[in-house]
């Protein structure tokens, strides 16, 4: 083999190697490192005195972590379900051959262009009793109107759901709209000949045909929900108290401000494994289905 051919053969590997190395070290390497740290007694700095599952026990004994997990369940569940349903509903409405479709699509899609921090700040203002919605309604004359979810510990987590859903729904709508447009128009004609009313056409034929879109929407929403950190920081900073603490904010404060590196690493590992426990079987079953079909 000549030199130039050798170079040609090696070139792809050579070009890819920096990014492969970066991914291997910075993503998978640090995942492994974090998992390793979670079995150590690390406090402010990493040290390798293995303590077994001690940090996990401490983690689950911590009421703040329990709050974070409960909040995650509320936030994640509502975020995924509401955004999916609302996105699908808007997509179905836009699919009715409406006028100015492009304008509506853009309006619903724009929130996705904002960063979570901006969304958080906007909704902080809107929901702030002294500045936003409550202030506005009161200044219109309804003096007894109260809307104080943002400052009530039991309700604050729902403000995060509102802001998060507001941001992601347009994107989910775009996904579903693309899926709806992919449905063969002859199928819709066939359903009409078969005598199916419009709602049955959607519930029995069109929406079941969008199964792959549901998977995509779920995967995107689930990972956004689990990694959402900036939204909480900008909107409530985890408060009032720790009432809107999420695993991600818990992990950050343990690791970087409370000098509990081991507990932080344990919480990160729990987040990763629970995410994997949801996604991996789902992906596996979907991909196997594809191959069979």
């Amino acid at each position: 083999m000549t030199l130039s051919k050798r170079i040609q053969a090696a070139l792809p590997a050579f070009v890819l190697s920096p990014s492969l190395a970066a991914i291997a070290i910075c993503v998978y390497g640090f995942i492994a490192y974090t998992a390793l740290l979670s079995f150590t007694g690390s406090k402010m700095f990493a040290k390798f005195d293995f303590v077994g599952l001690r940090q996990y026990e401490r983690l689950f004994d911590n009421p703040r972590w329990i709050t974070a997990v409960e909040n995650m369940a509320i936030f994640g569940g509502l975020y995924v379900v509401v955004a999916t349903c609302l996105g699908l509903y808007i997509a179905v409405l836009i699919d009715q051959k409406i006028r100015l479709e492009g304008v509506f699509r853009a309006i619903f899609l724009y929130p996705m262009a904002l960063s979570f921090v901006v969304t958080g700040v906007i909704w902080q203002w809107l929901l702030n009793p002294g500045l936003g919605l409550e202030h506005m309604v009161r200044s219109l004359g309804w003096q007894s109107f109260t809307f104080q979810w943002l400052v009530e510990p039991d309700w604050a987590i729902y403000t995060i759901v509102i802001a998060g859903v507001w941001q992601v729904t347009g994107f989910v709508m775009a996904l579903f709209l693309a899926g709806l447009r992919g449905v063969d128009t002859e199928i819709l004609r066939a359903a009409r000949v078969d005598g199916a009313p419009v709602h049955k056409v959607y519930t029995r034929i069109v929406i079941p045909a969008l199964r792959p879109v549901f998977l995509t929407a779920f995967v995107i929403e689930a990972h956004l929900a689990i990694k959402s950190y900036d939204l909480v920081v900008a909107l409530t900073k985890g408060g009032p108290g720790v009432s809107t603490e999420l695993p991600s904010t818990f992990m950050y404060s343990m690791t970087f401000t409370r000098n509990e590196l081991g507990v932080g690493a344990a919480s990160a590992t729990v987040m990763l494994t629970s995410l994997a426990a949801i996604i991996v079987p789902y992906l596996y079953s979907e991909l196997r289905d594809d191959r069979r079909a």
Binding site: R189, A190, V193, A196, I205, R211
Partner: protein, 363 residues
Amino acid sequence: MANLGISHVTKSFGSLAVLKDIKISIEDGEFLVLVGPSGCGKSTLLSIIAGLEEHTSGTITIDGRPVDGLEPKERDIAMVFQSYALYPAMTVEQNIGFSLEMSKMPKAERVERVGKVADLLQISHLLKRRPGQLSGGQRQRVAMGRALVREPKIFLFDEPLSNLDAKLRVEMRTEIKRLHQRLGATIVYVTHDQIEAMTMATRIAVMKDGVLQQFGTPENIYDRPANVFVATFMGSPPMNLLPATVVDGASGPRLSLKGTDVTLPLPSSVTARLAPGSDVLLGLRPEWLSLAMEGASANPTLTLHVDVIEPTGPDVFVALRAGEREIMARLPTGTPICPGEKRAFALDLSKAVVFDAATGVAH
């Protein structure tokens, strides 16, 4: 099962007329094929019969009852679509039974009806599968099952065979025809394939540019085309059209073929009186030409230059040349003939058709 009447139906999108004054009526149990090139309006007409599209004016009757403005489900029709349009998330059984489910038929009866249709189409073993797991031919059968299970008054087929490969297409063609004979159903079938039209139909409607060109039995359409378009669209290879002039002869008018010194007697089919000097086209099907035997035939002969020979198995298509003009002949395989020869061909004028050269309408 029912008759179907289409009277004075027009359809326009704004100023664009896609169907112009269509008049067709068929009896109970007939197999009507709407045939024509792309964009002739045949699929639009089918959609109008189905009730999926509104017509601009005119009346459609099914079983003597006007159905204008009724939804498809109220017309008691079933339709098979070109892309089959099976519901992807449902099993074959659910696909076939969907219309019955929508009409709130009890489950037991539904299962029985679906089972019967599946047996008829030999797809019983596929009932639990989804459309994605079926081959093209199987999907085709499911689509037909979905129509059959409703036992409608009229079946509508929209180019159902165009997505199948050639062999399967011929098989399914026979199968649809067999089903028609067995069920005695009234069928309206759209195709652009003139062979499908000829083989399946009891009545053919040839369309072009939204205008019904001719409506009749396959024999009628083939032997007595109403105009030049029908003559060349139906039949493969198409009918030969030879320009000629009407001249006076000793025993009535004769046709003088242009570019030759041959004159032919007027075909017996022509009833109209043709003025001498008028320009016409003489229409001859390729199979009405044969190699002239020595002195035997009473048919007029024409000497032609043999250009190309195309064997097809049972027949050979021979491209002949008369001056500038190409003439196709269909001869039995084994006819002793070579390219480059000049041979005399006998013309069977008993069925020949004469068209007006200017308007293209048959005399």
